[in-house]
């Protein structure tokens, strides 16, 4: 698309303010059944989104409307679309806020991306994974993109990020030696480029879980017991805390966090420390600015359990009076007071696989059907499956502990293990 024409048309329109996001995606995809190629796909697309702002009632309100303008739009069509946006923007009045200012110069943060090399790495990595008669790869899908995102606004911002973004979806099977029972496990791994070591670790661990699941008994009715999380399901807990510091949720009175106060009342275990950072190794979210042109800086969100800084979109950040703020893409959560080994003491259930584990960011409700867990009790370990974990963060976080050891999941650098002293386990195998 001719972005220069679009800019001149926006300037000519007399719009109060405007912004353009030009997102190009040159992507390759490979779909495998076992290790045979099922389908290959390529895409070369450009999505140009324009948002027009109108200042209303002498600056008391700001209206806005957005639209994706297809690259195929003619100049006349573009002018008409801008006119429609201007009309619609006047229909939605929000309290006034300003767009993020720039210095009028273009800024570029460009990373070299080779679709060929990254594709080669992924395909070879997957083919070289160790497989056995009783556990192997069922199918996988590889998605690789060279992303090119340019953000421009009427206040002089002009930022371009070019970066790699990859995703790998893998289905793993494990079966008994008699081949009369087979189960599957699912993994979705995201990253910048191909991280062969991380993929191998995750798949090997998943295969071991698969073998264990074949031996699983029904989860007993355990009631309230300590529960340990040591896989990526634990990210749900950190997303809950992240949400409490989101300016939009605070402005909408859904988050009750107050700066300088505990992010949740009554936390007697480890105190959570969470930092937003601009860069994490091989993250698919290493950007110079956010999607609205705000520079991304390292910033504490929660320190030792105390709310430090809200973050978020420009509109809600300004409503809260935040001087510096941006959207958050990479998060670091500090390790806790105990080692992984110490967190695995006494009786506890270690839940490693769920149908779909969720912590509701608004209500704090915790829920997930257990597909695989290890019930450690009275000096022995019982492999269990079925039933569910439930609870609420307000009570659960009262006794929450993090491991000192860390684990990196794309844009989340978090404690490897998290333990809650009390969560409810609804089993299916009778009382313990």
């Amino acid at each position: 698309m001719n972005i220069d024409f679009l800019i001149s048309a926006l300037k000519e329109s007399g719009a109060g303010a405007w912004e353009i996001t030009d997102q190009k995606n040159h992507g390759w995809e490979f779909y495998f059944i076992r290790h045979k190629l099922d389908q290959n796909r390529a895409k070369d697309v450009e999505h140009v989104t324009v948002k027009v702002y109108e200042v209303l009632e002498d600056g008391k309100f700001l209206g806005s409307a957005s639209m994706e303008i297809p690259p195929t739009a003619s100049e006349d069509e573009i002018r008409k679309m801008i006119g429609d946006l201007s009309f619609r923007a006047r229909l939605v009045k929000n309290p006034f806020y300003r767009l993020n200012p720039g210095d009028g110069k273009p800024h570029q943060n460009l990373k070299m991306v080779s679709l060929e090399n990254i594709s080669d790495d992924f395909i070879r990595t997957m083919k070289n994974l160790p497989e056995e008669e009783t556990r192997d790869i069922n199918s996988y899908e590889i998605f690789i993109s060279e992303m090119n995102r340019r953000y421009i606004n009427s206040e002089g911002a002009d930022y371009t990020d070019v970066y790699p973004s990859s995703m790998l979806e893998v289905v793993i099977n494990a079966r008994t030696e008699e081949k009369d029972h087979e189960i599957e496990l699912y993994r979705m791994l995201t990253s910048g480029t191909c991280d062969s070591l991380h993929i191998a670790e995750e798949i090997e661990k998943a295969m071991a879980y698969g073998t264990d699941k074949l031996k699983a008994e029904n989860t007993p009715m355990l009631g309230k017991v300590p529960v340990v999380f040591s896989t990526d399901n634990s990210l749900e807990f950190y997303h809950y805390f992240e949400a409490q510091m989101d300016a939009a949720l605070k402005y909408q009175q859904i988050s009750r966090a107050e700066i300088g106060q505990p992010v949740l009342a009554g936390m007697q275990g480890d105190q959570i420390s969470m930092k937003a950072v601009a860069f994490l190794p091989n993250s698919s979210h290493n950007f110079s600015t956010d999607t609205e042109g705000a520079p991304i800086e390292d910033r504490w969100l929660i320190k030792d359990g105390i709310a430090e800084n809200f973050y978020g979109a420009r509109q809600f950040s300004q409503y809260l009076g935040l001087e510096k703020s941006s959207q958050v893409f990479n998060i670091v959560v500090e390790g806790g007071s105990k080692s992984e080994e110490e967190l695995r003491q006494g009786n506890f259930l270690e839940a490693v696989e769920f149908s779909d584990f969720q912590v509701d960011p608004m209500t704090g409700d915790i829920a997930g059907e257990i597909r695989l867990a290890y019930w450690h009790h009275d000096g022995r370990v019982q492999i269990v499956s079925g039933g569910s974990v439930s609870g609420n963060m307000k009570e659960a976080a009262e006794n929450m502990y993090f491991s000192r050891e860390k684990k990196l999941y794309d844009g989340m650098d978090v404690p490897a293990v998290i333990r809650f002293e009390i969560l409810t386990i609804t089993g299916i195998g009778g009382d313990q």
Partner: protein
């Protein structure tokens, strides 16, 4: 009025027909899906308001599928030089056809080089048939999204948001949303020319409220095939959301255990979707990822369980005329009186399994691959009344309000997170409400326990459905009230 087919796509049709013929010289199958779907999304609350032209299904772009030496490949793009594709003479257009064909071949050739370098073998698939077919379907809608009176709609949603907040002590906000999309899709091969145009709309009322300690949100929605007129039903839904919010604010926790349950149509639909929706998507059969493959013609539910799937099963958000591979919409009886009869299938999975496709090949949008996906998934009605069902329960819950669900086709595990459980004791609703409720179980046990079904039936189509954790598409599901037995926590 008819939802008129996109003039933009009509003007591109000749170019794509010539492109499909040109590519046929190098490939033994070529199809082109081109889309031009427009719409709007409005969200009005007490604290923020937004309007945009983007919905879950708005798109303008093209995907080309080719087949060579047993391998299907696709190329998706959205930049076309319209002046060359639409308006030039045949000879001038020919140059652009050749240029576009070359670009596609070159890009796919780069991928083939990687596959050769890594010595990657191909999962060989037969060639799809191409037979002469011409079709134009334009479905009815009273008010198209392009012709919506946005000022009136925004004003109305604002009034409802005010009304919602005023109706409830402890209300933090009332979010009113309305989305309407006019879908236009054109499917072209050297022998086929299919076009369809239809509208669907969905609106929601969400009450966010607190009792000083807990924050709860109640949700109700309207959806269906049609245009902006669908939003007329939002006011009634808001009243229902207000009632639910009150119930949630005083709700308690359920004592975990196994109970007699009655599922409201929203939860009946969730069970249909999770249990034998995903479980019989036959692209999963190709990969040996679904237990359903081994249970065809076997009992998987009680005699009361009959389940249909297909775009023809209801005038909903997914009532298309043909799917994204050009297969005409269908109506498949998946379960007949408790016996699993068949699954649903996209065109490529059908080739591999040696069956006929069922009209369930769907893409998230033109950029995404086709998978076997659900459309309308619905349980048939029975002959009982809701009152009779409640009266038959000694201690149990009436479950209503979908929060989320997850399937496990390989093991037939099911997880449904339900917003509200209404306690029933000795045949009457006690007024006690529990929230949230996690319903888990083994699909044949759950369906096998169905002992009563009401005579009415409702289909709902708000929100989206993913495959794994991606590939979001519109679906609808529903059925009658069902009485069953399930594990709740």
């Amino acid at each position: 009025m008819k939802a008129k087919f996109s003039p933009y796509l009509t003007r591109l049709a000749q170019f794509f027909r010539e492109l499909s013929q040109e590519l046929s010289k190098d490939y033994n199958y070529v199809s082109i899906l081109s889309t031009d779907s427009v719409g709007f999304a409005v969200r009005i609350s007490q604290r923020s308001k937004s309007v945009s032209s983007k919905t879950m299904t708005t798109e303008r772009g093209t995907v080309i599928r080719v087949h060579d030496q047993g391998l299907y490949s696709e190329y998706a793009f959205n930049d076309i030089d319209c002046s060359r594709a639409m308006y030039q003479t045949a000879s001038e257009r020919k140059a652009y056809v050749l240029e576009t064909a070359e670009k596609i071949k070159t890009e796919l050739g780069r991928q083939m080089n990687i596959l050769k370098r890594t010595q990657t073998a191909v999962y060989t698939t037969p060639t799809l048939k191409d037979e002469e077919r011409v079709l134009l379907v334009e479905k009815e809608a009273e008010i198209l999204p392009e012709e919506a009176d946005m000022e009136k709609l925004i004003e109305n949603l604002g009034r409802l948001s005010d009304q919602g907040v005023a109706s409830l002590e402890g209300a933090l906000d009332c979010v009113m949303s309305a989305q309407c999309t006019h879908i236009n899709k054109m499917f072209i091969t050297p022998k086929q020319y299919l076009r369809q145009s239809y509208c669907y709309a969905e609106g929601t009322a969400v009450l966010i409220a607190t009792n000083g300690e807990d924050t709860k949100f109640a949700y109700e929605g309207v959806s269906g095939l049609g245009g902006v007129e669908i939003f007329d039903g939002l006011e009634e839904k808001l009243l229902s959301a207000v009632k639910q919010a009150k119930e949630l604010l005083s709700s308690g926790r359920i004592e975990p255990g196994e109970y007699d349950i009655i599922t409201a149509p929203s939860i009946t639909g969730l069970i249909a979707h999770e249990a034998f929706g995903h479980g019989v998507e036959m692209d999963m059969f190709v990969k040996n990822r679904a237990l359903g493959k081994e249970y065809i013609n076997q009992r998987v539910g009680s005699d009361l369980v009959t389940m249909h799937e297909g775009a023809l099963c209801g005038d909903t958000v997914t009532a298309f005329a043909f799917d994204d591979e050009g297969t005409l919409a269908g109506d498949v009886t998946e379960i007949d009186h408790g016996i699993l009869k068949t699954g649903i299938c996209d065109a490529l999975a059908a080739l591999r399994l040696g069956v006929e496709p069922t009209g369930n090949g769907k893409r998230e949008n033109f950029e995404h691959k086709v998978y076997t996906r659900m459309t309308n998934t619905v349980f048939d009605s029975g002959s009982d009344s809701l009152e009779e069902m409640i009266a038959s329960i000694k201690h149990g819950y009436l479950l209503d309000g979908t929060e989320s669900g997850m399937e496990d086709p390989k093991h037939w595990g099911i997880q449904c997170i339900v917003s509200r459980g209404y306690e029933i004791r000795v045949g009457v609703l006690t007024g006690r409400v529990v929230s949230p409720v996690v319903m888990t179980g083994y699909v044949p046990d759950l369906l096998g326990s169905i002992s009563m079904a009401s005579s009415d039936r409702v289909l709902e189509g708000n929100g989206g459905c993913g495959k794994g954790y991606k590939e979001w598409v519109k679906v609808a599901d529903g059925g009658p009230y069902l009485k069953a037995r399930a594990r709740l926590g």
